[in-house]
C-alpha cells in the first residue's frame, strides 16, 4: 500500500500524461471533445491550487478570468488580426492585469467577504461581455477566429504538453520559498508577516499566476469551441472549478488534474439518466467527499511533506 503511494507521488504525473496522450486513439469524436474540455479545465484548476490550495484565498471568480482570456484571444484575432501566438500572449497578459486589478482592492478582504466580492466581479465581467455588443457581439456570441493550432488534435497535444509543464511548475512553486510563504499566509497571516513575508505581495503574486493560467485556459477554450457566448461563464462554472480543486485535495497538483478530468467527464457519463442526472451527480460528489475527503486528500500530502526537506 505504501509502495503504491510512493510510486504515485513520484510518477503520478507521468501516468496521467501518458494516458492523456493516448486518449485520442480510442475515443469517439464526442468523447474526445469532453476529454479536451477536461484538460482545459485542469489548466485553470492548477491556478486555483496555488490561490486556494496554497495561499488559502477562497475566490469564486474564475469563470470571469476564463472569459477574459477567451474573449481577449478572440477579439485580438478578429478585430486586430493578430496571429494565434500574439493572441495567446495578449490574452494571458491582459487576464493577468485584470486579475491583479481585481486583487489589489479585493485582498484587503478575507473569508466570506472575499468570496462575495469575487462573485460580484464574475457577474460584472459576464454582464459587460453580454452588453458590450460592438466588441463582443454580446448574446450573439463571438466566432470566426482561428484556434491556436490548425487541427483539433494539434490543439489537444499542445494543451496536454502545456498542462504537464504547468503541473511541474506548480509543484515546484509549492516546494519553493514562495510556496512556503503562500502556505504560511494560509495558516497564519500575522505570523508570516512578522517573519518577514510580504503577505500582500505573496497574495498578489499567487493571484497573478492564477489569472495567467485562467487566461491561458480561456485561449484553449476558445480554440476548442470556436464559439464564445457569455452564458458559458456564469458563476455556476466558477463553482464547479472550486469543486474540482476541493475534490483534488486543495493543494495536490496531480489530484487536481484527475478531479478536473473526472468532474468534466462524469456529467456526460450520467447523461442517460436524463432529468435525474444532476441529482445523481450531486449524490456521487456528496458521498465521495464525505467518505474520502473528510480532510481533503491532504492526508497523503502531509506524509510526503516529510521527505521534502531532504531534497
Amino acid at each position: 500500500m505504501n509502495n503504491i503511494k510512493v510510486f504515485w507521488n513520484r510518477y503520478g504525473l507521468l501516468v496521467v500524461a501518458v494516458l492523456l496522450l493516448l486518449t485520442p486513439q480510442f475515443t469517439s469524436q464526442y468523447e474526445f471533445y469532453v476529454v479536451q474540455r477536461g484538460v482545459q479545465n485542469a489548466m485553470l484548476v492548477l491556478g486555483l491550487v496555488m490561490l486556494i490550495g496554497y495561499t488559502g484565498l477562497m475566490t469564486l471568480g474564475s469563470a470571469a478570468l476564463l472569459a477574459t482570456g477567451a474573449y481577449t484571444y478572440g477579439i485580438l484575432m478578429l478585430r486586430l488580426g493578430c496571429s494565434p501566438l500574439i493572441g495567446t500572449i495578449g490574452a494571458v497578459l491582459f487576464t493577468t492585469v485584470v486579475g491583479t486589478l481585481l486583487g489589489i482592492p479585493a485582498f484587503r478582504l478575507s473569508g466570506p467577504f472575499l468570496v462575495v466580492t469575487t462573485v460580484g466581479f464574475g457577474e460584472i465581467v459576464r454582464i459587460l461581455i453580454l452588453n458590450w455588443e460592438p466588441l463582443t457581439r454580446g448574446p450573439y456570441g463571438l466566432s470566426g477566429f482561428r484556434p491556436v493550432m490548425p487541427t483539433t488534435r494539434g490543439v489537444y497535444y499542445l494543451m496536454v504538453v502545456v498542462l504537464i509543464l504547468l503541473a511541474i511548475v506548480t509543484e515546484r512553486i509549492g516546494r519553493s520559498r514562495l510556496g512556503l510563504a503562500m502556505k504560511a499566509v494560509k495558516e497564519d497571516e500575522v505570523a508570516a508577516e512578522v517573519m518577514g513575508v510580504n503577505v500582500r505581495r505573496v497574495k498578489l503574486v499567487s493571484n497573478a499566476l492564477t489569472a495567467a493560467l485562467a487566461g491561458l485556459s480561456g485561449v484553449f477554450l476558445a480554440s476548442l469551441t470556436g464559439y464564445l457566448n457569455p452564458d458559458s461563464f456564469t458563476s455556476n462554472e466558477s463553482t464547479s472549478y472550486l469543486l474540482m480543486v476541493v475534490m483534488g485535495g486543495m493543494s495536490n497538483v496531480v489530484g487536481s488534474i484527475i478531479s478536473s478530468l473526472f468532474l468534466t467527464v462524469l456529467p456526460e457519463v450520467l447523461r442517460f439518466l436524463a432529468e435525474s442526472r444532476l441529482l445523481v451527480y450531486s449524490l456521487i460528489l456528496l458521498v465521495y467527499l464525505r467518505l474520502y475527503h473528510v480532510r481533503g486528500s491532504s492526508k497523503v500530502r502531509a506524509k510526503s511533506a516529510g521527505s521534502r526537506g531532504r531534497s
Partner: protein, 262 residues
Amino acid sequence: MGIDKNGNIVLKTDSLTKRFGGLVAVNNLSFEVHEGQICALIGPNGSGKTTVLNLITGIYPIDGGRIDFLGEQINGLPSHAICWRGIARTFQNIRILGSQTVFDNALLGKGYGNGGAGVFQIMFDTAKHRQERAAFAEEVDEVLKFVGLEDVRNELARNLPYGRQRILEIARALVTKPKLLLLDEPAAGLNSAEIYTLMELIKKINETGISVFVIEHRMELVGELADWVFVLNYGSKIAEGTFDEIRENPAVIEAYLGKGRD
C-alpha cells in the same frame, strides 16, 4: 537612573501610546534597550505587555509617540519590513505552521519579498534559485543545530512536544538574522527542565550579540537572565532597574500584591 550604558541604543520608544476605544492600553511609555542586553518587561496580567510587542512589530498602528530602531524611526512600517530591519519575535500562544516540517517552519524566517529569486526564477528553477535554496538550507540547518532541533528536522511541527515547538519558534526568529529578539512569555506552559533549557538557549543567543527583550511572568527566569527590568502597570511604566532593585520597589510590590492596610 543608573542604566549601565555599555553599548548603543538598539530600541528606543518615546511617549508610546495606544488606545483601544476608551481604554488606554499603553500610556506614554518611554524605554531604551541597549546593545547586547537582555531586558525584561514584567507586569500584572492585562498591563499591556503584549500590546507593546505588537506595537514594536507593527501589528497594531500606534496612536502617539514614536519607536526608533538603530536610530531610525520604524513605526508606520509594515511588519515584514520591520522584520527585515532586524527585529524578530515569538508569540505567547505558539504560532508555528503545524502542517509543515520543522525545517520549513524555520525556513519561513527567510521571509518573502526581500530580494532573492523571483517568481520566474523559481518557475524555471534557475541556477540562482538553486544556489539560493542550497545556501538557505545550510543556514537553516545551522540554526536548527544551534537550538538543538536538528534531530527532528523533517518532522511535522505539530508532532513536536510543546516545549520544542517553543524552541522552533525561536529558531524561526533566529533565521531572520535579528539584531533584537522579542520573546513573548517564552516559558509559558513549560516544565522546569524545559525552562532550564530555554534559559541556557536565551543566554547562548545573547552571547552571539543579539539583544533580547523578553516578557515573562516567571520571576526565577527574569532574575536569572535580565540585565534590566521594566515594570508595566495599566499601560504605564511604574519602575525600571536591575532585578534586585525592582524587587524592593514599593510601587512594584503594590502593583503585584495590592496595597496593604495600614
